[in-house]
């Protein structure tokens, strides 16, 4: 059976998927700032208001905590809210409604109120946004037990993971890479193609070193792998896809098989999710490790303004250098 595919950008994949989910399940609704008439500041929700009407596609007041808080109540009422936070940087305004409320409502109510809520939020560097729009804050949300944290890197995964997120009985923080919205495109399967959470994707296989990444850092890792290949270094590139749940087994095995590992992420180094990757691998693959695991992250500084952001966001050269050094290490 061959699957029909359509080539599209990540943004188109997200828009298509939202449309599909709204059509599939009338309990779903889309809510957020400027998601209606405007179709979102990036057009991720373009056309949805006209197609599904203002009861199901809702422009919300400018108040992030109430977007998440209301989603909790909507879910308790039996609906399936797909909320948008205009930028992940403004998820901080809703932070207390995420970890302490949304993520734990199932536990607090001992299963009575599952929370089939998706919170979509774009983030990520390299697109010259104003302050507070680019921060990679994913690690701050990982310590919210009950919440899944999903970070697609490709157009196909944007669709597949979003379908899974919307259909999941548990809450999902769905982080979309700004840089990839229009730049990343690929073949996307038509129709239903949910991608399971907790299964990483091997973006490419190579025997010398394993590069671990997620979201827009995956493309950086792949470019680094291209350059490394020219030097005769064969890299495996892993796309974690979901940080929670983490594909611990897949990760450990893939690192064990090369014995060398580089983790790349856009967030500042210290206490970034890369630390969890290292801790997991350093435990699970200890006896296979032939070199220290290298982390390539942004420095521990605020996300800086546009003219210096390219010096901050980890790029291909830093990944190549780290991989090279790792491979050379005794």
């Amino acid at each position: 059976m061959t699957r029909r595919m359509t080539r599209m950008t990540m943004l188109e994949a997200i828009n298509t998927t939202l449309r599909g989910e709204l059509a599939r399940d009338e309990r779903t609704m889309v809510l957020g700032q400027d998601v209606g008439r405007l179709g979102g500041v990036f057009r991720a929700t373009d056309g949805l208001l006209d197609e599904f009407g203002p009861e199901r596609v809702v422009d919300m007041p400018l108040a992030e905590a109430s977007i998440v808080g209301a989603s909790i109540g909507l879910a308790a009422a039996g609906l399936v809210p797909i909320a948008e936070l205009q930028f992940l940087g403004f998820a901080h305004q809703a932070f207390h409604q995420v970890g302490a409320q949304l993520a734990r409502m199932r536990y607090r109510s001992q299963g009575r109120f599952p929370m089939p809520v998706v919170v979509r939020a774009p983030f990520g560097g390299g697109v010259r946004t104003p302050e507070l729009h680019s921060e990679a804050l994913e690690a701050q949300f990982v310590q919210s037990p009950g919440l899944d944290v999903v970070m697609p890197a490709t157009a196909a995964d944007a669709k597949g993971l979003l379908q899974t997120a919307v259909r999941s009985p548990d809450p999902v923080l769905f982080c979309e890479p700004l840089r990839g919205y229009r730049l990343v495109s690929g073949e996307v399967p038509d129709g239903d193609a949910p991608v399971p959470f907790g299964k990483l994707r091997v973006a490419r296989a190579g025997a010398d070193v394993t590069i671990v990444a997620w979201s827009a850092a995956v493309q950086v890792a792949e470019k680094a792998a291209d350059l490394l290949a020219e030097e005769g270094i064969a890299a495996t590139v892993l796309d974690l896809r979901t940080l929670v749940p983490l594909d611990e087994a897949g990760l450990v095995d893939a690192v064990a098989s090369t014995g060398r590992c580089v983790v790349v992420h856009e967030a500042p180094l210290s206490a970034g999710f890369g630390a969890e990757v290292v801790a997991t691998v350093a435990q699970g693959a200890f006896y296979s490790l032939e070199a220290p695991i290298a982390r390539v992250g942004a420095p521990d500084t605020p996300y800086p303004p546009g003219r210096v952001e390219d010096l901050f966001v980890p790029g291909v050269e830093r990944v190549v250098a780290a991989a090279r050094e790792t491979v050379k290490a005794a």
Binding site: M29, E55, V58, M60, P61, A63, A65, S66, V68, G69, A70, S71, I72, G73, L74, A75, A76, A77, G78, L79, P81, H96, Q97, A100, Q101, M105, R106, Y107, R108, S109, Q110, G111, R112, F113, P114, P145, G146, D148, P169, D170, G198, V244, P245, L246, E248, A249
Partner: protein, 363 residues
């Protein structure tokens, strides 16, 4: 010199609270009660129940048999009057933590509530037919949730009203504002029931906000705001019923402020003598919300000594029964740390459970 005077001034926040049943137990002239007969007796019984439970919980707590608990004492008219405006079969209560009688009125078994305050996770599970959300410790966090709930029920044309409780302290949180504003925008069928009991732990109402009343915030959200004597069961019931009717008929949300007073400590870990002026208590104790209903019921021939004794006995037995039941519940185990975190536990979570179980539950 400027001829301009601001259109909105601090004094516009003041209003006279609605009253029906005066502290002496007689009706305010020209007002007619919205609760009477059996309903009124039931309301008073629930108030008595609440008072009795407060006492029991306090003594259990002092014996180490109950957790930190916030008594309702002094606020029974405010909670019960409001709760009695709802139809538990279709309407919802979203609590803060000091509204036990409202939860009981919705049908929550006392045992569930007690389990929660005993520190048992299983207390969080209300029976499916009981229209309540779990109690909320993060102040004001329940408010936008209640708005979402009301909005979601309305979207499904489920003729339901949501009543959400919070304290005067909680009204200072950003969540209060965002919730009220959203409720106005989506015209959610929700009643914000602010129990202004004069204190947020040690912080007096005057230090909480410079507003003359909290109900005065309503026009700023495009909704109705009502100020009521919170120690007056009949007034609270009337005002809350008015708000519930408005919500049910599509008239949108209402902000109700009940002016009441926390007669006890903030909770069993608190000592109000550290901060409460003594004349404060002296002023409020004669306004005890139970007394005036009692006097009124007697004057109407709806209450007498034998009935009183029977009710008190019934209450004591019910509470004793609940204590026995919850104290007989086998203590929760490590599986109750893990159950209901997500629908399907991740491999990592499964491994963590297995590891802790291997430790035989030992730390």
């Amino acid at each position: 010199m400027s001829g301009f005077v601001p259109q909105f001034r601090p004094e516009h926040g003041a209003a006279t609270p609605w009253t029906v049943l005066r502290p002496g137990g007689d009706l305010e002239p020209g007002r007619s009660p919205t609760l009477d007969g059996e309903r009124l007796r039931a309301a008073y019984e629930l108030m008595l129940f609440s008072r009795a439970f407060d006492e029991k919980a306090f003594s259990l707590q002092r014996q180490g048999r109950f957790g930190t608990f916030s008594p309702v004492r002094g606020q029974e008219a405010s909670v019960v009057g409001a709760a009695f405006a709802l139809d538990p079969a279709r309407d919802w209560v979203v609590p803060q933590y000091r509204e036990l009688p409202a939860l009981l009125n919705q049908g929550l078994p006392l045992e569930q509530f007690m389990l929660t305050f005993l520190g048992d996770p299983r207390g969080g599970r209300a029976p499916d037919e009981v229209n309540v959300l779990p109690i909320q410790i993060g102040l004001a966090a329940q408010l936008p949730q209640a708005v979402g709930l009301a909005w979601g029920l309305a979207r499904q044309r489920r003729d339901a009203v949501v009543m959400v409780f919070c304290g005067d302290g909680a009204t200072s949180e950003g969540d209060f504002h965002e919730a009220c504003n959203l409720a106005g925008v989506v015209r959610a069928p929700v009643v914000f029931l602010v129990q202004n009991n004069g204190w947020a732990i040690s912080t007096p109402r005057a230090r909480q906000s410079a507003a003359a009343s909290l109900a005065a915030r309503a026009p700023g959200y495009g909704m109705a705001g009502a100020l009521v004597d919170g120690n007056d069961l009949l007034a609270v019931h009337e005002v809350a019923s008015n708000a519930v009717e408005r919500a049910r008929s599509g008239g949108g949300p209402t902000l109700v402020e009940t002016l009441t007073y926390r007669l006890g400590d903030h909770n069993t870990a608190d000592d109000a003598t550290r901060y409460r002026p003594t004349d404060d208590l002296a002023a409020w104790e004669p306004r005890d919300p139970l007394d005036r209903v009692h006097t009124y019921l007697r004057s109407r021939g709806l209450w007498d000594d034998p009935h009183d004794a029977a009710v008190r006995e019934r209450i004591a037995q019910r509470i004793e029964e609940a204590v026995r039941t919850v104290e007989a519940v086998a203590p929760p185990g490590v599986e109750h740390v893990f159950a209901h975190v997500t629908e399907t536990p991740s491999p990592r979570l499964q491994a963590q459970l297995a590891e802790l179980q291997a430790h035989g539950g030992a730390r």
